[in-house]
């Protein structure tokens, strides 16, 4: 009976706790061999084997490296990449799907970005201190009290105008390395600062223009993929996107310094125009920005 059960077990070992996927045929882990010995009558043998193997499933996934981490196998990563890309197209308000798409398609982009960030002193400070952006870490009242043309005032003005909060960002789940996960999180949280820098509204057209900018500036494949969502725009808007805003984004994004190296939280009091000169960016064509108080309205 023992030989019989060992044969039976080696057929089922792909589902055992020590291996993932259909690898390790024939490997028998020690604890399960012991469990085998303790099974009772022959009739219930196959049922109890199944039970013990299935209960090993919680240990088939490697341990998370940070809170919220969900390690994925290559197959799962591809599946989620395809599924989240499709779902983002179908329901453009699923921010969690856009986030998942970005993470599963990031590949080596995060490594390159992390290295670029490490090359600048400001960037090194960011990676060392790992600042987070949410309503607890930002002092809204202090930002509101800043003078008109400062970056901090522009940011809070943008938050109020578009009625958004800094708390709506999905945490990172699918990046395995904790430092790269932070770089991804930083990108997601500073995205709003790019909005504020140019004054972009939060509707579809400005978001896509910003994604085009991010593609040339940062390089995430998801930002290029997201331009596929321009199919959901109405024809005139789509034409404007591709003829006016994408050329601006490509030129401006590649000319500007990598925006992930900017320690935004140190620059609240900096004058907005001076900041744009320093970063190497310029304003987009008119029509998708919030009205700036110090400029002539361009409706």
């Amino acid at each position: 009976m023992r030989t019989h059960s060992r044969v039976l077990f080696s057929l089922m070992s792909p589902a055992c706790g020590s291996c993932r996927g259909i690898h390790g045929w024939g490997r028998v882990s020690n604890n399960t061999a012991v469990a085998l010995g303790s099974s009772s009558s022959p009739r219930s043998l196959s049922y109890s084997i199944n039970r013990k193997l299935h209960s090993a499933h919680s240990s088939t996934r490697p341990q998370p490296s940070y809170p919220g981490h969900i390690p994925l196998t290559p197959f799962e990563n591809t599946f989620l990449a395809a599924g989240s890309a499709l779902m983002s197209l179908i329901d453009t308000r699923r921010a969690d799907m856009v986030a998942a798409c970005g993470e599963t398609t990031a590949g080596s982009t995060l490594v390159k970005l992390r290295d670029i960030v490490l090359e600048s002193p400001e960037g090194r400070r960011i990676l060392k201190e790992r600042p987070r952006i949410n309503s607890q870490t930002l002092d809204m009242e202090k930002l509101r009290s800043l003078p008109e043309n400062t970056f901090g005032r522009a940011y809070i003005g943008w938050l109020d105008a578009c009625k958004v909060t800094p708390d709506s960002r999905e945490p990172v789940h699918y990046i395995d390395d904790p430092e790269l996960a932070y770089v991804m999180q930083r990108y997601r949280e500073t995205h709003d600062f790019y909005h504020a820098l140019f004054g972009f509204k939060v509707s579809a057209l400005p978001e896509l223009a910003l994604k085009a900018f991010e593609f040339t500036n940062l390089g995430f494949p998801m930002t290029a993929l997201s331009l596929g969502a321009s199919l959901r725009l109405k024809s005139p808007q789509r034409a404007r996107l591709w003829t006016e805003f994408v050329p601006w984004a490509l030129r401006c994004g590649s000319h500007a310094r990598c925006l992930l190296t900017v320690y935004w939280e140190e620059r609240w009091e900096q004058d907005l125009d001076e900041m744009k000169r320093e970063l190497g960016v310029w304003d987009p064509p008119a029509g998708i920005t919030i009205p700036q108080p110090s400029r002539i309205a361009s409706f």
């Binding site: 039976l8 057929l11 089922m12 792909p14 589902a15 996927g21 259909i22 009739r43 219930s44 196959s46 049922y47 199944n50 039970r51 299935h54 209960s55 499933h57 919680s58 088939t60 969900i70 196998t73 197959f75 799962e76 599946f79 989620l80 599924g83 989240s84 499709l86 779902m87 308000r93 699923r94 921010a95 969690d96 799907m97 998942a100």
Partner: protein, 298 residues
């Protein structure tokens, strides 16, 4: 359970609420008065908490329940439910008073009523849909509004706990058919559910349970496991924005008793069943991925 109440919002917000529900497990330890624990998927939780944890899961999945069923089973769940109805043939021997427990979104109730109507011109059969979760009942009610049974005595919706059906509303010996489909594994105490089923059924009446069960074929079992633990949580993430609820659902399938064990539990409640083999007390569907258990109250 404030977290559970907050989770009745749009799907993409639910992930955060459900995550909080799952990550706050440690705080639930303080309410463990009896010291008894039970399984919640692969986790072990105090018995008292399981009900509210399951409530959180179903509040969260209710709005996308039918979509997820179709996506994760590739539509096969419809075949299984049709198979159950074909086995039971409700209406063949006259109008029935049925109770469909954990019947939330109304799949089985609708099939019972349609089968009786189409095959036997029976418009007197009634189904009382009972579910512990108000959100699921709401989905069922909405779906029934699209059918001819809305506002008729043939269907009614009741929020109640399968383990403790209020005796004033669900009297002893009053139903001809008791069905529970893909619901019993979420209950804290299966014997309690079976006892209540025995109580409310008339003598000679049928108990039927369609539930995920044990796959004995090792190759199929491996493929099924891979699919369950890999694809289904991802489908939950993509379609419903909720990975944890679907992780719980696939884990809870593994914790459910095997076919012979469950058949014995049905007999322990007082029912008379067929023999302990496929085709007797139970009928395996698709190799045991799902199984129909039946029993008769004697």
């Amino acid at each position: 359970m404030q977290q559970a109440a907050r989770s009745i919002r749009v799907p993409r917000k639910l992930q955060r609420s459900t995550c909080r529900l799952f990550h706050n497990n440690s705080s639930l330890g303080s309410s463990n008065t009896s010291g008894r624990t039970t399984s919640f998927g692969f986790k072990t939780v105090p018995e008292e908490s399981k009900e509210s944890l399951v409530k959180g899961v179903f509040d969260s999945v209710a709005s996308k329940y039918d979509l997820m069923n179709d996506a994760s089973s590739l539509g096969v769940h419809r075949l299984w439910k049709d198979s159950l109805i074909d086995t039971l043939k409700p209406g063949r021997k006259g109008p029935l008073r049925c109770i469909d427990v954990a019947g939330g979104t109304g799949d089985i109730a609708l099939r019972i009523l349609d089968h009786a109507r189409e095959n036997y011109a029976d418009r007197e059969t009634t189904v009382e849909i009972v579910d512990i979760n108000a959100q699921m009942l709401k989905e069922g009610f909405t779906r029934f509004k699209k059918t001819m049974y809305h506002n008729t005595p043939q269907v009614s919706f009741h929020e109640a706990n399968a383990q403790e059906l209020p005796p004033s509303q669900f009297k002893d010996d009053s139903y001809d058919l008791y069905t529970i489909t893909f619901g019993i594994r979420n209950c804290t105490s299966i014997p309690a559910v079976l006892r209540e089923a025995y109580r409310v059924l008339k003598p000679g009446a049928t108990f039927a349970c369609l539930e995920f069960s044990k796959v004995n074929n090792p190759l199929l079992s491996t493929l099924y496991d891979q699919y369950s633990f890999t694809v289904i949580p991802l489908l939950g993430t993509i379609l419903a924005g909720d990975r944890d609820s679907y992780q719980y659902l696939v884990e809870s399938i593994r914790k459910f008793p095997s076919q012979p064990e469950f058949a014995q539990m049905i007999r322990d409640a007082g029912f008379s069943t067929g023999g302990d083999f496929d085709g007797g007390a139970w009928t395996d569907l698709w190799g045991g991925i799902a199984s129909i258990h039946t029993g008769v109250k004697v």
